[in-house]
């Protein structure tokens, strides 16, 4: 049982990176399908489409960021070796990973759908690019808040 804490913490880090990565992949995939459709008819829109497609990608990065944060905290990066962790602390770290894992996952999917709709919008109204970019960014707010929650929780947890 001595490694239970470490395992729980790693499980949390894995979920943070994996779930938000899955979400971003789905979101970017949906937006990419839309972008490809618009570009088939109008290849000149590549620039605007690419920006809109990239928007749901940040959740995956946020998840990765938290995962690294955890690894760093556990001392698994670099040669120093893992810190000792009891199961209680492991569970705390696991809990701290959940906000970005869950919110990152869902918000990326919905942001992708909004991006897809925005891409369809600029196909009709290229001059509305500014508005088209803001709509998906509204969704991302909640991923940012979840990231913040995860970071603050991790910072508060004492290990070692």
């Amino acid at each position: 049982m001595e490694y239970l804490g470490l395992s729980l913490a790693l499980f949390g880090a894995a979920l943070a990176a994996a779930l938000s990565g899955i979400g971003s992949a789905i979101g970017i995939g949906v937006a990419g399908g839309s972008a490809a459709g618009v570009m088939t008819e109008d290849p000149n829109k590549f620039g605007s489409c690419l920006i809109l497609q990239a928007l749901p990608g940040t959740q995956g990065i946020y998840g990765l960021l938290i995962a690294f944060f955890v690894l760093n905290k556990l001392g698994l990066l670099g040669g120093a070796g893992a810190v000792a962790l009891n199961w209680n602390q492991g569970l705390q770290i696991f809990a701290a990973c959940l906000p970005i894992a869950l919110v990152g996952w869902y918000s990326a999917i919905w942001q992708g759908r909004t991006s897809a709709a925005s891409i369809q919008m600029i196909s009709k109204k290229p001059e509305a690019m500014g508005k088209a970019i803001i709509l998906p960014a509204m969704v991302e707010t909640y991923a940012v808040l979840a990231l913040l929650t995860s970071i603050l929780m991790l910072m508060g947890i004492q290990v070692g």
Partner: protein, 330 residues
């Protein structure tokens, strides 16, 4: 392939659909040559050749549109839905020819009237009808064609045969739509059947049919039953919209209440029905992946093809432009 791609690509393609400004200019062209030159700047150009047979060019463009859509629409049934009417048109042409040949008119076969837009290859259909091997035909044609032949042998009533085919056509369309399982598409097909019945009802009312005689003319499968339409025959047309007030379609009937002349009312109601059918689908515009967007695009393309035809006919025969303009905008 997902509908997200499909719908986005359709949005791009919608930008190329000719707008009313184009048709105004097209109708203002001095001669058919000028008009064709103008059309040469559009996607129709590749089908326009020297002999200026624009009917063929318009059909080719429609066919090319179906082929293009077929490449990226995940459910081919959506396209078939629009091609089934052409299939039944072809069956009618072939059967008419067959009956004529049997009656001794050896030149009765009119293969030139067959439409290429049908989903069944015309050669295959011709062969099937000529060799009386209907086994492989879709849309219930396997059973309905022998019925038609038998009916003709008994009654020699061309109208009855057409009606039989029309019933089967709407049945086939509804079956196809239900197979797709997209709420909006099914609703649209059902409303289309209602709309067809409503148009028939007005026509029959003009001819003073009573309920019993009118009943066979109405198709099954809509939101309203054929009975409901047949009952209308016994009522004055001003009251129809009140009788149907519990249904969605009643609002297109305003023209009937206001317009005494049934002929004018008919064209008003027809226009209102077409608008309503389009409105129903338009809610799909707000979705990034509703398959009904495919229907919307095909309807827009069909409207465009019709407008090109009207404009060119108007220019080539020197018809009254005001009349054509009204036809195009409707």
């Amino acid at each position: 392939m997902s509908y997200v791609y499909t719908v986005a690509r359709l949005r791009g393609m919608e930008n190329h659909i000719l707008d009313s400004a184009f048709f105004t200019r097209l109708m203002d062209s001095a001669s058919i040559d000028d008009a064709l030159k103008m059309l040469g700047e559009t996607s129709y150009s590749q089908y326009l050749n020297q002999d200026s047979n624009f009917d063929k060019a318009i059909d080719s463009e429609m066919l090319a549109t179906f082929h293009e859509l077929a490449q990226f629409v995940p459910d081919q049934e959506l396209l078939t839905l629009f091609r089934i009417p052409y299939d039944f048109h072809n069956v009618k042409v072939l059967l008419k020819g067959l009956f004529k040949v049997r009656a001794g008119d050896l030149n009765g076969r009119r293969y030139d009237l067959l439409s290429k837009l049908a989903s069944i290859d015309t050669n295959e259909l011709t062969e099937a009808v000529e060799t009386e091997e209907y086994g492989f035909l879709p849309y219930g044609l396997t059973d309905v064609i022998p019925q038609c032949v038998a009916l003709w042998d008994q009654t020699k009533n061309a109208q009855a045969v057409e009606l039989l085919l029309d019933h089967q056509m709407f049945k086939a369309m509804l079956a196809l739509a239900e197979k797709l399982n997209v709420a909006l598409v099914t609703k649209w097909v059902k409303l289309k059947i209602d709309a067809e019945n409503l148009k028939a009802a007005i026509r029959l009312a003009r001819l003073k049919y009573d309920s019993n005689h009118a009943l066979p003319f109405f198709h099954e499968g809509g939101f309203l039953r054929p009975d409901d339409f047949a009952k209308l025959m016994n009522e004055p047309q001003e009251t129809w919209s009140r009788i149907l007030s519990h249904t969605d379609i009643s609002k297109v009937l305003n023209a009937l209440t206001e317009q005494q002349d049934l002929k004018v009312a008919f064209s008003d109601v027809s226009a209102a029905i077409d608008r309503y059918l389009l409105e129903v689908l338009e809610s799909a515009k707000y979705s990034i992946e509703d398959p009904a967007n495919v229907l919307l695009y095909i309807l827009a393309k069909e409207a465009e093809a019709r407008n090109v035809r009207v404009s060119l006919v108007c220019v080539s025969s020197g018809l009254d432009r005001e009349f054509a303009r009204r036809a195009v905008i409707a």
